[in-house]
């Protein structure tokens, strides 16, 4: 503590020589923290988007841009509902579930909510079977285990094909399947957030787009946009919104990512007028940017180590050289060589910590500002990145000061004191 007091006094009263190293370390740490923070937040955002989007293949109207879909799936563009039946009847390999959806905005207790029309699974299969002679005689259960949709097959790693029929029928499995099994035309299911906000528990009547709906139940929390929505019967939503037999999107649960990748080509061939994308496509740009930022952070890490280390070493060498008489005097007054060496290392460590404090602050604020101004999302700096910044700066400073400290400890006080 006594040594630190002396080191701190010297740095505060003679800030000039240390300032350059402090600036280099601070900027190095700031750049590292900022880039790491943005990359980490972006990764979290991508993961969140993937969770929110739910399906791993999306069939969208050709005019819809990916950016539109990020904003909301109630993008105004539509495609024929009949596309869903086409997919079903084509019995494409790897399709676990389908969910054609139409989302419209409406008022609920003077607040704006999204009403999403979905086709209940039971009705969807009945409709598909009616349109296909091969499936005409198949009941739902045999269809689920032996037909195209929902059947188990080699390489299956999806979420829905592992469930039993009973589990699939349960509302509780919605978070996994995103499929509603049964739903009356005049009923709605409410998302967890909507239920919480409006106090719905089931049995209430709500008025949406001029029509009354009974609240049939509350969906389990999914962590997706569905938590803030009401789900109604697709055909009833089409009626009350005057949309006609269209949907905004057909969500396809592919069996796994690899299967989903093969599906895209098949779906494109099947539905030439639609845009078929995978979740990987949707987030591809962001994933690429994240990868670049990760690599950039490694480069910055290397720059911090090399430039920061060189700067600290240079400042400490100069410091030892300039203070030869002072250090010689200290030795004459009773300081041991190790005390003098420790003073040099302590000074470098103080520089490292001070640089890290400045750098972490600057980096976190910069990352936050960049996120807000240019990226459109909040960038936070996790504690692990703060620790990395501090640890790196401290380690670099201490390692860089080792040789100057040794030189200081080996000073000959007799020679130093005779120097003018």
């Amino acid at each position: 503590m006594r040594l630190f007091g002396m080191v701190w006094s010297e740095m505060v009263r003679r800030p000039g020589p240390s300032a350059a190293a402090l600036v280099v370390v601070a900027f190095g740490v700031a750049a590292l923290v900022a880039v790491e923070s943005v990359a980490t937040s972006s990764e979290k955002r991508v993961a969140g988007q993937m969770r929110t989007l739910g399906a791993n293949v999306l069939v969208l109207p050709a005019e819809t841009t990916l950016q539109d879909y990020y904003a909301a799936d109630s993008h105004g563009e539509s495609l024929p509902e009949e596309y869903a039946s086409r997919i079903t009847m084509a019995q494409l390999k790897g399709v676990e579930e389908l969910s054609p959806r139409l989302s419209v905005e409406c008022e609920l207790d003077e607040s704006s909510v999204v009403l999403t029309g979905v086709l209940p699974r039971q009705e969807f299969y009945e409709q598909s079977a009616w349109q296909s002679f091969d499936l005409l005689t198949a009941d739902i259960d045999s269809f689920e285990t032996g037909g195209g949709l929902g059947r188990k097959h080699e390489g299956c790693c999806g979420r829905t094909c592992q469930l039993t029929t009973e589990e699939k029928r349960s509302l509780a499995s919605y978070a996994k399947t995103r499929i509603v099994h049964e739903l009356d035309r005049d009923s709605v299911l409410v998302g967890a957030d909507v239920a919480e906000e409006h106090g719905f528990a089931g049995g209430e009547t709500v008025r949406l787009l001029g029509a009354d709906f009974r609240v049939a139940g509350v969906l389990p929390r999914t962590g997706t946009v569905d938590d803030a929505r009401l789900l109604g019967h697709l055909h009833r939503v089409q009626e009350v919104s005057d949309s006609g037999p269209v949907v905004n999107v057909i969500e396809v649960m592919g069996c796994c990512d690899a299967m989903a990748a093969d599906l895209v080509g098949d779906l494109k061939d099947l539905l030439p007028g639609a845009r078929v994308v995978t979740i990987a496509n949707l987030v591809e740009a962001q994933v690429t940017v994240n990868g670049l930022m990760k690599r950039l952070s490694y480069v910055l890490f290397a720059v911090l180590v090399v430039l920061g280390g060189a700067s600290v070493a240079s400042v400490m060498f100069a410091n030892v050289s300039e203070r030869r008489r002072e250090l010689g005097t200290l030795m004459a007054l009773g300081a041991t060589p190790s005390t003098v060496g420790r003073m040099v290392i302590l000074k470098a460590a103080t520089l490292g910590v001070a640089g890290a404090v400045l750098g972490v602050g600057l980096g976190a604020v910069s990352a936050y500002a960049v996120g807000l101004r240019y990226l459109g999302f909040t960038v936070s700096t996790p504690p692990a990145i703060v620790l990395t910044g501090f640890g790196t700066a401290l380690l670099v400073a201490v390692v860089a000061s080792y040789v100057p400290a040794r030189r200081a400890a080996r000073l000959d006080p007799c020679t130093c004191l005779q120097e003018l």
Partner: protein, 234 residues
Amino acid sequence: MISLDQVEKRYEQGGAVVHALRSTTLDLRGGDFVAVVGPSGSGKSTLLSVLGAMLNPSAGRVVLDGTSVYEIGVAERARVRNERIGFVFQNFNLVPWMTALENVELPLRLYGGSRAERRGRALELLEHFGLADRVGHRPSELSAGQQQRVALARTLVTRPTLVLADEPTGNLDPASRNLVLQTLTDFRDDDRAIVLVTHDPAVSRAADRILTISDGLLEESKAASEIGLASDVA
């Protein structure tokens, strides 16, 4: 107090051996005030460094208060320097970024002690040297005489038993020089010996014993009073 027994210091320089100090034997007791005179390069500073536990001799023993200072560890020797030896330098060697008070406190700060105790002792000495109104000043804000008084206060703050002064008046005006010599004379007592190195015969007159050194060879001279030189110091 301190004794040098057959102490030698040799350097190798360009393949040749330089005898900075030749077989030197010296015995100093408490109350001694010894001046060492000699021309530049004669070995004065080497002698002072050896006495000050800073320069390991090539041969011989240096014993301070019963401790053979070059037969103990580096850390222990540093502690001996801190507690028992005080240095006064020609160039004062004050730490430039410290105040006068902090400079005086410095030797005590190296090995602990309470802050209040350190500060009290340092202030007492600065007051003694008439620098009570200069405690917060840095060396660059003090005159040469004031700086040397601060350096003297720093030397005496640990109550050393041996004070080694290397040309302490070399950069001072006559008034300041007299004050420094007077201080050294005053602080000599039964427990403290003073060795003053100078090439100025006038300064050496303040001492009781004068030793001359030439080409590394130390010889006893007559006392200043015996050789008929009146001291400039009152």
